[in-house]
Symmetry: C2
Subunit: 127 residues, 2 copies
């Protein structure tokens, strides 16, 4: 991936270009699980189990994968405590916090326009 | 899907609940191809071929599928002109236009923070 890294430092990032890393960043921040995790962490750190409970229906595999991706991208920190039983906390980094308003906007749009979208789908499917 | 429709009219939409349709809406609006199509249409209607050219590397299958999804969700209108050769135009609806600022924010965040994210990835992969 050093090609992508080099590329994106040489020119302005442009997600319209197939090799620009900003496309992957779009995938990360627009992903439904990322959105829900970032919003759940917006008001303070949470344990793994608290996240799993808040985000109804997320599989352990998807939650673990989402948290690892967010950690790798520098949006979330993971702290393992050497307690019995072991405890793992997740918190937003400054970079992660800079995303909160944006994903809160996505969430607000999705819930605020759900009725219109479902009506549009019903019209489309009926024609 | 009428269950989902009924459900979402009975209670406040809540994407933290597994059966709420707003989760699917999050998928739609956060999807990288939806983001790029909506932004490309933000300044006026475009033909299929113009979209395919602007969004580098999108396959015909993904572009067609994305446009159909956006049309079904009421975000885009499709107009086929009976010309020779046939011409198909895509335009944002009012609902689609209400999404422009939000997805422009995603795009700006993705391009503006790409360097930080790539640096975080390099640190993560090196440890």
């Amino acid at each position: 991936m050093s090609y992508v890294l080099k590329e994106s430092q040489d020119v302005e990032p442009d997600p319209y270009q197939r090799n620009c890393g900003s496309r992957q960043v779009l995938d990360r921040i627009g992903d439904r699980w990322s959105v829900l995790v970032v919003l759940t962490l917006a008001h303070g750190g949470k344990r793994y189990g608290e996240l799993a409970q808040r985000i109804d229906g997320v599989s352990q595999k998807m939650l673990t994968q989402t948290l690892r991706g967010l950690e790798r991208d520098g949006l979330v920190t993971r702290t393992a405590h050497a307690t019995v039983p072991p405890r793992v906390d997740y918190e937003l980094t400054d970079l992660g916090r800079s995303l909160v308003d944006l994903v809160a906007g996505l969430e607000a749009w999705a819930t605020g326009h759900l009725g219109e979208i479902e009506a549009a789908r019903a019209r489309y499917d009926a024609r």
